[in-house]
Symmetry: C2
Subunit: 227 residues, 2 copies
DNA sequence: GTAACATTCAAACGTTCGTTTGAATACCGG
DNA sequence: CCGGTATTCAAACGAACGTTTGAATGTTAC
């Protein structure tokens, strides 16, 4: 699908990618300048252009390094589930966990850059710059198709456009939860320390999403074109 | 609560705010330059600094113009519901509608700038720049407290920290849905034209959120500190 | 050891950024 | 009609932006 990971990264490239992950997360893609990035990485200003070509290409590389393996893992997980089920329909909760588990496990990578990337990713979904949204979109498209097919099989009675909407809502819930840093504190006395208890968060997210996905049809909804 | 709306806006200020709403939504706060903004508004480059003081102050003004009345409306709606109920507990769906209705109704303001603002708002929740997140946070804090109290009364059996998490998830679902422009098309053959059928979208969102909010406790979740 | 290549480095490139200035014009109470 | 305030305007400010350059340094192969 992508031929990018075939050439291994040297140390300088890794340092740049790690710095970019953190600074893009903190300041956004435009807000993090080449000088900030190279200073944080401890490399020369010209190193990014030398190793990646341009700032935009660096942004691409940041996403490819983490997102490609993440989506591979998601699909592999789903394949395994279906194989074990041997034709029987999967539980919606299991499909949801196959999708969100890859993200949440990376959050536990506390000292590595994984957590930075996950929060960056949550923000990228609503990034204004078109090229970035397009990049994210094309990186996710095959995974989304795969999971949509799995949901269709698991929920044969749910109309397709209703499913699309509910997948959209689920995706939003996940994206926002990953991106949000201090918004929980808005609502109440937050305990940021257990936001990153990935196991607990996965349970809560799965319960919320599954309930929304399986909620009964209102009946009214399907008359939209009959009027 | 805020003393900003007391001085009426002249035409130049309104033109600037409208242009800012659209360009901030399309390009982000850093991506939309003073020259772009003033050109779109049809005013001189110096007009923003003259009328608002700085670009950052303009950003603040953009949010205050729409968000303050929106939160006033939300709380008024909730007050009315509780008054009509005369002490009886409210349905969770009704509280949810009181919150999301104000946003969704503004989407229907098709030719006005309301739709632009709503999509901008959806993005601002995950904005990297700290001052902007802080601004949004303090503008929302009282409303959040008010709605949290309403949910507590409506769902007395739901543990408080569980409620906070579910409110967080609901907020994310809404924010992402408002911000998303073409991400739905990721999932399947999307029909962007009915994304802005606010009535239908409100039904779908309410059903999804209410199901998540009311989903049964997994039991396991509460053992987190007992272990 | 030296030629060939890869990488790092300091410096500068032209452009665009947000903001400021001071003169020109519009508006308005007397 | 005039004096004073409010607004608009063209021009310029210094700073920061992403990128390029060419020399210096490291690395590898023979």
């Amino acid at each position: 699908m992508n031929l990018r990971a075939i050439k291994p990264l040297n140390e300088t490239q890794v340092r740049i990618l790690d710095a970019a992950e953190e600074l893009f997360m903190q300041h956004g893609f435009e807000g993090a300048s080449m000088r900030m990035l190279t200073a944080k990485a401890g490399v020369n200003l010209a190193a990014i252009n030398y190793h990646f070509g341009s700032k935009d290409a660096l942004i691409e590389a940041v996403f490819h390094r983490r997102l490609d393996p993440m989506n591979v893992e998601r699909i592999a997980h789903l394949d395994r589930l279906e194989q074990d089920a041997a034709g029987a329909p999967l539980a919606a909760e299991a499909i949801i966990r196959a999708f969100i588990g890859a993200s949440l496990r990376m959050i536990e990578d506390a000292r590595g850059g994984g957590r930075n990337f996950i929060r960056l990713l949550g923000r990228a979904y609503t990034e204004p710059a078109k090229p970035i949204r397009a990049l994210i979109g094309q990186m996710y498209a095959p995974t989304m198709e795969r999971f949509k097919a799995a949901f269709v099989k698991a929920l044969p009675d749910l109309p397709k456009d209703e499913l699309v909407w509910r997948m959209h809502f689920m995706f939003g819930t996940l994206a926002y939860t990953l991106a949000a840093t201090d918004t929980v504190q808005l609502i109440a006395g937050a305990k940021p320390e257990d936001r990153y208890d990935a196991r607990l968060l996965e349970d809560r997210l799965t319960a919320f999403m599954a309930a929304g996905l399986l909620s009964p049809l209102a009946g009214k909804i399907n008359v939209k074109k009959a009027a």
